[in-house]
Symmetry: C2
Subunit: 197 residues, 2 copies
DNA sequence: ACAATAATAGGACGATTATCCAATCCGGTA
DNA sequence: TACCGGATTGGATAATCGTCCTATTATTGT
């Protein structure tokens, strides 16, 4: 039988293993940081043997890139879904806020996956941070498009970055103090801000 | 001669060395992160020999605690200075903002020293993050006192945390995008917010 | 000047790190 | 059935990590 179409086919054994590695790495990088996650950690979490992982990824950096790509795909799908679920620009922006409150448990425990990753990589690994920055770009552009829909022109991107920054700040403080109430209170303020735009 | 009063005396040789270690570690932890800084890095930056540093600090965690203490002392002195320089609560709050804009170069390059440290330690090292959280407490309490001066009651602490979070968010985004203009623009907005309180 | 203490010098430790490699296995194709 | 390439196994690598010793040399208070 000829090889099935990649987009619809069930994943082959190797593709499953590869996806499993990326899933485990994504979780570990989030919970323990990139540097705080060792190759051994990923191998053990994936239930593999040491050498096997090198069949799929040559370096740890390659795994990070795959994790970033997976994040991009998942968040991209989210954004697309919000656009289909809500037609009003403000409703779409509120969906962004709902994601934050909906993930308050993880946010309070581990911080923002995107923000903490960029903060860590921005210290020493400029090359990797540039790749991770794409995650911010994704949200920035999507949010800016919503502000454009609301009639904003040149300041749409500034508003998007303002909103992103507010969200990041909330995540940092909520994480530092493990405070869900603060997260709820601050996102409620942000909701008022959105409705006023 | 009796030992000089510690607070006024010139530092002894050992105290100088110790202070030098803390200074180097403070800079390295900021620029490369806690995990990204090795014992060897600190030793080399301090111009010491491997074993010698253990005469001053038993573990790397001890060094971190000393770095946090130094941060606390320095920022505490800053806060005290602002209280002496400005008598109006809002002027004191604006001094906080001036610190941010005054340090824009480092902030854009390495992020907020307090925020990034807490974010990193919050991932895996809860015990250490609790110590680092004291830096946030310092600012939170000081800012809350200023809002109390402005006539706010129960919400003084919430306002302080809001301001802290806004500042953190600005630092994160400005760092991710290496964007000084964004930092200026956002702090200007924060200035308007302060003046409206 | 002397005894006690502090500081320096330099090597060594086991554990862990990312990375790599050869040998074996297995499933689909010829 | 024989075969071939991807997948698995399991160990080995050199480098680096934080930590710890033991001498030897300065500095200190008396």
């Amino acid at each position: 039988m000829a090889r099935q179409d990649k987009s619809t086919a069930a994943l082959s054994k190797g593709e499953q293993t590869r996806a499993g590695i990326v899933d485990c790495a994504k979780r570990l990088f989030y919970e323990h940081g990139y540097d705080g996650t060792s190759f051994t950690d990923i191998v053990e979490a994936s239930g593999l043997y040491r050498g096997n992982i090198y069949h799929y990824f040559k370096t740890k950096d390659d795994i990070l890139q795959a994790v970033i790509d997976q994040h991009l795909a998942e968040f991209g799908a989210l954004l697309e879904m919000w656009e289909q679920q809500h037609k009003e620009p403000k409703a779409r922006l509120l969906a962004f806020l709902n994601m934050i409150t909906g993930r308050k448990l993880e946010l309070v425990q581990y911080g923002c996956p995107i923000g903490s990753l960029n903060t860590e990589l921005g210290k020493d690994r400029r090359d990797l941070q540039e790749a991770a920055r794409a995650l911010f770009d994704l949200f920035r552009d999507w949010l800016a498009a919503r502000f454009t829909e609301l009639g904003h022109g040149d300041d749409a991107e500034s508003l998007a970055l303002h909103l992103l920054g507010r969200a990041q700040g909330i995540a940092v403080i909520a994480h530092v103090y493990h405070d869900q109430k603060l997260l709820k209170r601050e996102t409620a303020q942000l909701q008022s801000w959105i409705e006023a735009q």
